[in-house]
Subunit: 391 residues, 2 copies
């Protein structure tokens, strides 16, 4: 079979707010091969990612993804890897290409799984999928009281782990941060797993980040995520050497395998967080998971959007029994929830199970998506290169 069609759907809340909530819009990808539909999602700017699919060629190593992907063979996993390699070479100078291809690649796995009647994790070589311990991923509140309320709500809804991030953290005094951290611990409970995400606020300032370590240790924080700019491996390594029981986490911005590898080797993180909607899809994410295992680092998904993205992001480490923590979009905007009929919810043990259904195991909701569909049109030299397709 070959790739017959690739269509993009830009979904958005009517109003997008200037906050760190990545679930306010989405770029969903539908791929058709041999009559079978597969779905994927780019964790990326929708308009820019679509532009990377249809832009006119600039030169032989700066081609639109359409030219590399459409019509290509899709019979087995090696075809997906070959396509990813072709994208690396032919879209070498198109920076956005990795984000766009990520959603396409996911959808290719979904198609392949449906054709083979097998979940994607089996195509990746895993014989079983182990349950994961989802953490309720949310923003710090504007006040410690709000942070407490958010974490308490997570606990009440059956979550045994919570992550607080962004918002005021690192922007005020040490005492402000301490109050938020204490509130988060109180909210999730003494036996809960607490994770903290700094959202790169300290840029490359190791000392500023290091001053938070005692506060994080006080509340028994498992990981301290993205204290620095994504590429500041030197800062990561320096903090890692002084972070005591608190492990560093990072990697969500990796847009190829090597960036994940580098954060492990040079940044000395204890947890590597991979977003399948950015790293180039499920294939390079699986390679990152294999590498993490080899290096004694724990692999975690990065997912702040939909349950389509969640199901895709769990595949690369589905079979890793000891890598149990998974990010779970706790309070997504309605667009992220409504786009699929399938949702993964924590069971009585507070665990989520990866669907055993073919492909990614996700049933999309056309009606749910239509409510948020954003019309787009791009024309060059008077010729329309893209117009929102029929859903």
């Amino acid at each position: 079979m070959s790739i017959e069609a690739v269509d993009f759907f830009y979904l958005s809340m009517p109003q997008v707010e200037d906050i760190g909530d990545g679930s306010q819009d989405a770029l969903v990808v539908r791929v058709v091969a041999d009559g079978v539909e597969g779905w994927g999602e780019c964790e990326a700017s929708p308009l820019v990612s679509v532009a990377a699919y249809i832009t006119p060629m600039s030169h032989g190593a700066c081609k639109p993804l359409r030219d590399v992907v459409l019509g290509k063979r899709l019979e087995d996993a090696t075809d997906i890897a070959a396509l990813a390699a072709a994208v690396e070479m032919e879209c070498m100078d198109l920076l956005q290409a990795a984000h766009t291809f990520s959603g396409i690649e996911m959808a290719l796995w979904d198609v392949l799984g449906k054709k083979r009647n097998a979940p994607v994790y089996e195509l990746l070589g895993y014989t079983a999928a182990y349950p994961k311990l989802p953490y309720a991923s949310q923003l710090f509140g504007d006040t410690p009281t709000e942070t407490l309320a958010g974490c308490r709500k997570a606990r009440e809804r059956g979550f045994r782990a919570v992550k607080c991030g962004w918002g005021p953290f690192g922007r005020g005094s040490l005492n402000d941060d301490r109050e938020h951290l204490q509130a988060a611990r109180e909210g999730i409970g003494a036996d809960g797993t607490l994770l903290v995400d700094a959202g790169q606020i300290f840029r490359e300032d190791v000392e500023a980040a290091a001053r938070r370590i005692p506060l994080l240790e006080e509340v028994n924080t498992v990981w301290f995520e993205e204290p620095f700019l994504g590429g500041a491996y030197g800062a990561y390594a320096a903090l890692s050497a002084r972070s005591g029981n608190v492990k560093l986490a990072g990697g969500e911005a990796s847009h190829n395998f090597h960036m994940a590898q580098q954060l492990i080797d040079y940044g000395k993180v204890g947890y590597v967080q991979i977003d399948c909607g950015r790293i180039g899809g499920i294939g390079p994410a699986k390679r990152a998971a294999d590498y993490a295992v080899e290096r004694g680092v724990t692999y975690v998904n990065h997912t702040f959007t939909s349950h389509l993205a969640l199901c895709a992001s769990l595949q690369p480490f589905a079979g890793l029994k000891d890598h149990v923590i998974c990010e779970f979009p706790f309070a997504p905007k309605s667009v992220a929830w409504d786009m699929s009929e399938t949702h993964l919810m924590p069971d009585a043990n507070g665990e989520v199970k990866i669907p055993a259904a073919p492909g990614l195991g996700v049933t999309m909701s056309a009606a749910g998506m239509r409510k948020y569909l954003v019309e787009m049109e791009i024309s060059v030299k008077g010729k329309t290169l893209y117009r929102t397709p029929k859903l």
Copy 2:
């Protein structure tokens, strides 16, 4: 003064061929602040880069560049650095942003230099600009005879250095590569500087690249550029340990300072090649140049397009007397030539001098640009977000 307007002009040859010639199109940026015009160029996919300027916000760390740049203060170099830092945080998840901002940032320096009546290299802290030895950058021919002719032509036109790259290199037998290399050496002459660019053809295959080292040594090659995928630092380091007199070069794809730093620290290159049109502009390129000096690595510009891009790319190492080699677009397509009135040509010594005129020292040609101007229009929800502005 503040940034009043940012406009993009997509220029292209009527036909773009599927070859590694990056001069077939261009994205030129015009910035106006306090009535002064500055110019820059993104070395990037034009449509996609423009989309990153005007795309609707996805969330607080995935904003269009327009929202971060327009209306901001521009009084001195620290304002440019502050803007770059804001882009890193507020466009964190917009992958293409670095490419788009690169052209804007160049133009900001151009404005500032014109306001101060000083060349940009002085604003960067250099007291003098030293002449550079330009190498004629060209593709390998389809046959050794073509490669010979190209290099001979460079020599006849006064170039003392040549770089051959891409094309058939690494795609055929060792003997094919040897014939091309011998032809290149014959063309540039025994006393010429010969550089070779593999265009990432060996991906991560250290052995395949290592087999070329003796052939490169035979013809006294100064550097072996981009043997591998940009992030494959392990492969770079492994080859570097066995490359004898041939130094490795790379870094053109760096889209932030840290990537350049990493290629030096982990990839062990001898030459770091920075494109100001990709790394985020002149500021981070200067930081890379400073770092190269600190680590005993030679800084080189990457420029395969216009003389606007060339003038910008020379600024970060203008004052480094010992870093003499510079890339020079030897046979650009007419679009890259016609867009400016200013051209830097090798003098009788085969050297180029960086303009001492204010800003980047480049006079653009409106008539030259108009010939190649590509009309674009992008609309979202029926509202036009971008339409090619008046030139």
